[in-house]
Amino acid sequence: MSTVSAASILETQEPSIRDFDVNRIRRDFPILHQTVNGKPLVYLDNAATSQKPQKVLDTLERVYREYNSNIHRGVHTLSQTATTEYEKVREKVRSFINARSEREIIFLRNTTEAINLVAKCYGPANLKAGDEILITTMEHHSNIVPWQLLCEQTGAVLKIAPINDAGELMLDDYEKLLNEKTKFVSMAHVSNALGTINPVRQIVDLAHACGAKIMLDGAQAAPHLAINVRDLDCDFYTVTGHKMFAPTGIGILFGKHDLLEEMPPYQGGGEMILSVTFEKTVYNKVPHKFEAGTPHIAGAIGLGAAAQYISAIGLDSIASHEHDLLAYGTEKLQEIPGLTLIGTAGNKAAIMSFTLEGVHPHDVGTILDLEGIAVRTGHHCAQPTMERFGITATTRASLALYNTKQDIDALVMGVRKVIEVFG
């Protein structure tokens, strides 16, 4: 064919991926440009927390320098500016996860608090003794313990959907475990210890088909892949700011409006009320009903800046870059004798968890640290997941948009050094 249409050229050029310039992105993150133990910092602990771009840092500084003030009810100018900026983030987050209404967005501290809120406020009114709550073997402790507490309180039973040797949810078993007693399902969108991306759309449909409500823990998903709660149709979804380049101490809970309306408040205090007398208190509307006390105002506004930063680059470009790195890292790590990757799901986020024969992960972590490489070692707050693989701990390298192939090369060199020391 001698002529090519403009449309097909555009399709094959993949413009967003071509525009992705990791060196330019790295310049946005001041913390990356330092040495640790005399070596250039290689930051591979993003699943624990991510670094913050200059735009987020500037936003935080601007809040405190220019309009720091308490939000809501203030009549003075600074308070109104702070309120406006804070509430604008609700809309930004709504758009980021494609919720229907910004009233479905509740500001909290983090995903842990969000899961606890749902367990505490949705659970007791909707679960009774003998009902079942279904989670999976790959959950973070924060998506296990709140449900255990709820079970203790209500007499409900916790059921666990198993995972296979690759660290993938066994969908058939998940489906079999769902029954008329299953009232609630809670599951990670992306596993923090294994990197597995769960087929959440299907999982949600299956839960709904048996009448259960479902919550997805998106802590590890938000910085890596596009979230669309309307498309997923999940009942609750939670995201934490600090893993998506925003400050610590700010996260959000999405909940379907009707469910949030029915739920009692989480904590009592200011802001969550419409009126208080000693005889009767009238609660505020959703979402304010769940936001007692002065929130992390600057953090929320920083979260807005972070969401904007991610959107400007584009989650498709980010996912594509990270996927390339994951493929490269997986290949390089697997060449190392004695190294076993834990979590080899077909659909995976850029998390590489591994064990090294004869060397404890903490020794790996310390030696890598001496090389300037930051990884996480231990059970990653997912002890049942570790147990599933017959181990107590792994070394975990988790990537973000600013990581490079050079970072992976440094990791591989570091691991080879570990083997040299312990060989």
Binding site: N37, H360, D363, T366, I367, T392
Partner: protein, 150 residues
Amino acid sequence: MDLRELYQELILDHNRNPRNRRHLEKASRIAMGYNPLCGDKVTIELLLDSQGSILDIAFEGSGCAISTASASLMTEAVKGKTPKQIEAIFEKFHSEVTDQPCPKHQDVELGKLVALIGVKKYPARVKCATLAWHTLKAALDQVGETVTTE
């Protein structure tokens, strides 16, 4: 920082070939130790004489090189010692690895345990070096439950 300051040959050797890692058939005291931060577990078994001195000691468990070597070196250091002597060694050792002064036990010799002092530059790893010691203390004090480093 040089990694050989921490991972000295003696430590690597005791990690590869831990001494007294076995089960004591006739233990008079048993204690379990657990470090919730890393999941390291250690069990210490003691055979004491009528005066409370350690006739025999063994450990079992899984952990990093520092915790394994520390448990191994500890078993060698305390065998034949009285509880009072052991307490002095532990106090001295503990001050060294946490980089604190220890005027009370200036005359106590740490011997091979000195190899572990490099850990003081790695605050996150100090508990690896002290887990076995805390567990030994629990066994000597006959504390029934699992001790943790927290």
